[in-house]
C-alpha cells in the first residue's frame, strides 16, 4: 500500500531552530511540571485550579505551533545522541508524524537511548500520534532510504 508522506520542513515556523528548541523545551517542562503539581495537590480547590491550568496548557499544545515545537525539541534531543547520523520528520497519512532516525549500523546502546526518549515523548503527549523508524545506513546514503526521494526501498 502506498503512503502519502511529506517531509516537514524546519522553515515551517519561520524562526531559527535554536529558538524553537528552547521554546519546545520550555513547553515540555511546563507540561511535566503541571502534571507533577496536579498529582501532588491534595485539596479539591487546588486540584481544580491546577486542572484548569493543565487543560489550558493542553489546549495550547493542540495548536500546530506547539506541536511543531515539541517535534523539533524531540528531534534535537535525538541529534544529541552521537551515533545518530540524521533525523528526518515526515507527516504521513492519517495524521501520523514519523521520525526517520539513521544510524550507521546496529548499535543497541544508542537504540536503547532512542527508545527511552521516544517512550518519554509518548507518555508526555498522549494526544499525538508519533512514530519512529530506526534505520541503519550500512554504507548507504540517507537520501536513498527516505520515503520522499531516491529509490524507494522502504515503505508499507
Amino acid at each position: 500500500m502506498g503512503q502519502k508522506v511529506k517531509e516537514v520542513s524546519r522553515s515551517t515556523l519561520g524562526c531559527p531552530s535554536s529558538r524553537i528548541d528552547v521554546c519546545g523545551r520550555i513547553v515540555m517542562e511546563r507540561v511535566r511540571y503541571a502534571r507533577l503539581e496536579e498529582e501532588l495537590r491534595r485539596t479539591k480547590e487546588e486540584k481544580e485550579k491546577y486542572r484548569f491550568y493543565f487543560l489550558t496548557l493542553l489546549e495550547k499544545m493542540k495548536s500546530s505551533f506547539c506541536r511543531y515545537l515539541i517535534m523539533q525539541s524531540f528531534e534535537n534531543s535525538l541529534r544529541q545522541i552521537s551515533q545518530v547520523r540524521s533525523v528526518h520528520l515526515f507527516e504521513e497519512e492519517e495524521n501520523t508524524m514519523s521520525f526517520y532516525i539513521f544510524l550507521d549500523k546496529e548499535n543497541w546502546e544508542a537504540e536503547e537511548q532512542i527508545y527511552k526518549k521516544y517512550g518519554d515523548l509518548l507518555s508526555d503527549f498522549p494526544e499525538f500520534d508519533i512514530q519512529i523508524r530506526l534505520l541503519r545506513l550500512w554504507d548507504r546514503q540517507t537520501r536513498d532510504l527516505l520515503p520522499s526521494g531516491g529509490e524507494k526501498i522502504f515503505g508499507e
Binding site: 492519517e94 501520523t96 546496529e106 517512550g119 509518548l122 512514530q131 523508524r133 541503519r136
Partner: protein, 129 residues
C-alpha cells in the same frame, strides 16, 4: 478474570507464531529475517490477547477522519501503561521487524545474535498471556 474468546484466539495465534519461530531454529537460523518477523507477530498477539482479556478497547475511526491515532501507537501506549518494563522490548521488536521486511541489506548485515535475541524477547511476551 476469565479469558474472552478474543483473548483465547490471540493467545492461540501467538502460540502458533512462537512455534513457527522455534521451528526456524533461532540460534542458527537459515532465515534470520523470518525469525525476527515471527517474533514480533508473536509479541503483537500476546499484547492483543492481554488487551482483549481486560476488555481494552482500541480506538477505531471512521474513514476520512483526520485526527487518528494509529494502531501501532495505540499498542505502544497499551504496553507502556500495562507493561512498562516491556515497552522498549516491544518497540525494538517492531523496528527490527520493519527493517527485516523492507531493508534488502538486513539479511547480510545484522549480527548473528539478533534473531535469537528477538526470539528471547518474544519468549518474554509469551509469559504475559
Amino acid at each position: 478474570m476469565a479469558s474472552s474468546p478474543g483473548s483465547l484466539a490471540h493467545k492461540a495465534k501467538a502460540q502458533h507464531n512462537f512455534d513457527f519461530v522455534q521451528s526456524l531454529s533461532p540460534t542458527t537460523p537459515r532465515y534470520p529475517d523470518w525469525v525476527v518477523i515471527g517474533s514480533f507477530y508473536t509479541a503483537l498477539h500476546c499484547v492483543c490477547a492481554c488487551a482483549s482479556k481486560i476488555g481494552w478497547k482500541w480506538k477505531k475511526y471512521p474513514s476520512g477522519f483526520t485526527k487518528k491515532i494509529s494502531m501501532h501507537t495505540q499498542e505502544l501506549r497499551f504496553v507502556q501503561k500495562k507493561f512498562p518494563n516491556l515497552f522498549t522490548y516491544y518497540e525494538r521488536l517492531f523496528q527490527e521487524c520493519w527493517n527485516a521486511r523492507y531493508d534488502p541489506l538486513y539479511l547480510n548485515r545484522i549480527s548473528t545474535s539478533m534473531p535469537n535475541d528477538m526470539f528471547r524477547i518474544a519468549s518474554m511476551f509469551m509469559t504475559i498471556v
